[in-house]
Symmetry: D2
Subunit: 369 residues, 4 copies
């Protein structure tokens, strides 16, 4: 079979750079597949595109070379010191396939993206567009979002993430939103994906606090324990922290975080979630959760969690997993939302289960269809 | 249908007292069913014995009246202040059905327990014996454990928990071990249960650290994250803390705690588990876990947990659940180990799954057979 | 010597009720002096008014009887079950000395408070007014705050806490603000205290996160470690939590919390402080702090803290300490702010030290003058 | 003034390598003085030997070159990537002054160390011997330890750390024990130091859990709070972790850890301290402390701490501080134990204060004598 193109929106960011460098390291046998779900024994024989079949390209608004970005990630302790030299050639090859993000919005931007995707896709079997750019503020509703017909001629009401989804669908590509931005989550774009016969998935990769909530909330539910309040504080360095310190984007993210609790516990849960930007944390993040619950006869008890993780190292292997899985969806002719990828997301498309165990079972079953 | 007898070994302990008082409170509509798994909507229609069908009796080596024990649990914040008066009549009724634990071991003890169970069982449909006594040290192996034939005439090689299991089976009762003691876990006793046509389950109720491990270890496994070390410290007040400060019993408990990690992660995991007796904690316990794991490209990250719970409030509703479920198993004529009750235990009998989600699904399916 | 009157603003709140009930229990020998600083050996021989010399009265806007409030605190685990009956007579005696808080502001309120204090003070040596009412929003600046002369005729620009300070000073009473409200912290009121020859102290008792910060920040400073960010989340139940969930009062509190770091570290420190209202916590509070710091050659390290305390049990003994110490200040004829009481406060009056060790030394020296 | 020689016992270990490389970086202006106590403004004008006046040498049982050791510390994230190249020349210079540790014990070892120190000391003003080798097991008591006279001819009863102290004193050098080993803590060696007119200090640098305890225990004491139990778990990677996993050395360390609590709280405190070796932590350590305390009227509350630090980065600047301070003590002709250096140690020599604030004041006063 041929190659799968992986077009990264935000291609020079920490997540994208780590994914490109990491894929190169894995292909060269310089690293183990830790963190890659599709490399687990459960996925053996699932006929997914191999890591060696992935070809990387993408858009970004900045122009720092990938090699430079990788050096910074080494200095920050995200990439191992030995790695950056070993994969420099692969980074340069990807560098040659990066294009500047469109500076305008609306129809002109769409056309440019379609053209870039068409050029990139030459000689490739399928292309998957993955959004790993900074989180956008929530998108105000507009009547043009309601259907493909209503949208025609009003493409300038789409936020950047949705412009990319639109262009991807028009160009016959799959689309995955790893951020909490709007992306393909508008009726008009859902219609377009179905019409164009291409798959999409998302949104908002779960790599920390919400991942934990998706296994712990079911535990409380299955034990009949009554969660009285679930509070959380997230300390984020780096770009994502800065974006989310802005109340707009934070609102998008918080909504999906609390939703996971409600879905798993069956009722709304008291408690706030804070996202603080702590620049000195760099690529690292810390999440503290405090769960107050009642047990038998109302006795109050607590659970506290502290998760200290490197965002890029948590997200990058999932980006590779999603590229491979969505590549298979493209090959199989799947059209529209893929609910079975809910394992990866805080706010999954479609009507799948909300607990991680069921999501894993669904993903595994999908891969082996 | 008739009544189910619930014979508690350690009937004056905190767990047993909380279970008896709580069942009375629930029957009287004075409390909600928080913490009771078999009261969840998932178990509606499963035709389990009702809380109102349970009749409590038991053995203990001490003779403090149940009403006195309940008052102490109120002072300790385990039982609500309003409760002890309201359920005094029910506690007195159970009091009348308690018997002194046999002071000797061997055949004499077995005969006394059989006689007490026979007396208790008059007019009841079935009797379930539940061990909630203090944890024993590990039992040294003996050739008489190997089969029922080998055991005959050598019953004095059985530790106390196994004497109870033996007597229960001979008396036609189900048996559940909520502690890490030996209980029914000897080939001779397994043979006896099958021969006698009675069910048994256990062992070692999971109500804190191991409960969390049974949902978090699968999460690491399903995300392909590499757990490098999982360390734990448990601070326990009360009687169980004192017992487990003794290296013998602690060894039994630690073995089942680390086993859960290995079963879920597929390989042995570095890290120690400490159990400290902190008398000032009273009925409360605190577990701190530290998980060091590697993600993509070997990046090191950590998860920390602190669980602060009241042991009796966590265990008592599960004792009621197990009484009802094992009561049903008796009614249904189930013989031998019930692997489908693994949801409740650190070290379950039989060959069931090790992750909590699968254990819950198995339990639910069993209840609705 | 004669008696010291202790007039509590917010006399039916949790802190005041615990202080009144606790003082009665200590006098009756029913409890130990845990948490009382002035009962430490370091304060022996300091000639402070004894606990037996304190007489309680106060204002409140609600009228729930103290005995009722004490019962609720028993149910919440704040007061020991045995206590409330034993001190009922003392609570009733205090009840008879409580007066409704003035419903209006301005001059009429001041006159009523002065009259109530005069009535209360009959037969007493001195009276100390202690504000333990709910936290107010920050007070907007006004030119009438600048001097006593400017204030005359404009008393309606004073927030409630300052009306009490004004009335206290006019009535010849000492004044202590245990809350972050404005209280006596206006130039006009400082002038009045000095003119009237009465002492005042405050503000904002430190009983958790800030207490810890006042010993840990000096540790980082003395070791030359570079604090990069100090973040905090406070979960509060009860009335104070509700008040502080309102951004106005929270702003007052946060300002004093971050100030302690800056004063001890010598520079502003990055990091936010959140105060969440979690009603299910009741009288309890939880503070989580995360400190990111650099050591030798810039290596990043962290300290995390979780403080779980009962607000009333932490504050009430300090209220008794402050009543006794301010009583002594009244007896000694101290006029104006008492900087040496900074040990008790987040935002102390005067120019004392900011680290707890020096504050303790200053307090001890003051007591033994 | 002339140079101060710094002779490191364990000169190729992580702490020593970080100290040597760090001193070079500071002299070259490549790093800031973070973590160096003697560089704080409080120590300006104290006339301490400058960092530029320190000359490094030492013994070690292994022979890995310092440059190699530094590279490993870069890979482990302890030293910044840019550093190792920049200080290679300084590391090579120190390399030339390292000598193999004596392979035998007793008199032969002493003579060798004296000879090595004499050779090293040529052209230097004074030499300070600092023990940063692995922790020894506790030393069994022996009558020869009682006096210098008793020791003569029985030097083979001295553990390695004490052989070094003996040789240092005979060679006219100051001695500092940064480990919990016996070092100079024997009557015979104390006598020798006084006779020889040289200073010594120690023992067991406090860089984490005990540092925190020395500020938090005084806080509980000064607030009159009753500490019921103080429990701790330490997870250590690297060599020290391996040594301390052995119950012998752990016993030495635990004794000094619990002693700090008793000294500051005025009574023995319940609670255990665990030290676990977690190899995957490398140079990092994590300490979790759980403090259960009673407040007013006996209300139970808790404090939890997690300290995550890099042992070498915490210890190395203190080694430089102690070299400079002990160098000054040598210049000033101080003989015998220096109690005023207690700020640095878990188990300080002499009769100084036990709380960090007083220890800091004592150190500062000593430096400015």
């Amino acid at each position: 079979m041929g190659k799968i193109g992986v077009w990264l929106v935000g291609a020079r960011g920490s997540v994208a750079t780590t994914a490109i460098a990491g894929a190169a390291a894995l292909r060269a046998g310089l690293a183990e597949t830790t963190g890659c779900v599709t490399e687990l024994p459960d996925f053996a024989g699932a006929d997914l595109p191999g890591l060696g079949e992935l070809v990387f390209g993408g858009h970004d608004v900045v122009d720092t070379p990938l090699v430079k970005r990788a050096e910074r990630l080494v200095a920050a302790g995200v990439l191992p010191p030995a790695l950056s030299g070993a994969v420099a050639a692969e980074l340069d090859a990807a560098e040659a396939r990066l294009r500047p993000a469109p500076s305008d919005g609306g129809r002109a931007a769409i056309d440019q993206v379609i053209a870039d995707l068409a050029e990139f896709g030459k000689g490739l079997d399928h292309v998957v567009v993955l959004n790993v750019a900074s989180t956008e503020p929530p998108c105000p509703p507009h009547t043009a979002h309601a259907s493909l017909a209503a949208l025609e001629g009003h493409e300038d009401v789409l936020p950047a993430s949705s412009l990319y989804a639109y262009a991807a669908f028009r160009a016959g590509c799959g689309f995955v939103d790893f951020t909490p931005s709007t992306g393909a989550r508008l009726p008009a774009l859902d219609e377009l994906a179905r019409t164009a016969g291409v798959p999409y998935a998302g949104r908002d990769g779960k790599t920390g606090e919400t991942l934990l909530r998706s296994v712990l909330a079911p535990m409380f539910a299955q034990r009949g324990l009554d969660v009285l309040a679930w509070s959380g504080t997230n300390l984020l360095g780096g770009g994502d922290g800065a974006t989310l310190a802005d109340p707009g984007p934070a609102a998008s993210k918080n909504a999906s975080k609390q939703q996971v609790l409600q879905q798993n516990l069956g009722h709304p849960v008291d408690g706030e979630v804070h996202i603080d930007h702590v620049p000195a944390l760099g690529d690292w993040k810390t999440a503290w959760d405090h769960v107050l619950f009642a047990g038998f006869l109302g006795t109050r008890m607590t659970l506290q969690l502290t998760w200290q993780g490197c965002d890029s190292a948590l997200a990058a292997p999932l980006v590779l997993d999603l590229a491979r899985l969505t590549g298979k969806a493209c090959r199989d002719g799947v059209a529209g939302p893929v609910a079975d990828f809910g394992f990866f997301f805080k706010d999954p498309v479609g009507a799948g289960p909300h607990d991680l165990a069921s999501q894993y079972a669904a993903l595994r079953a999908w891969a082996h269809r």
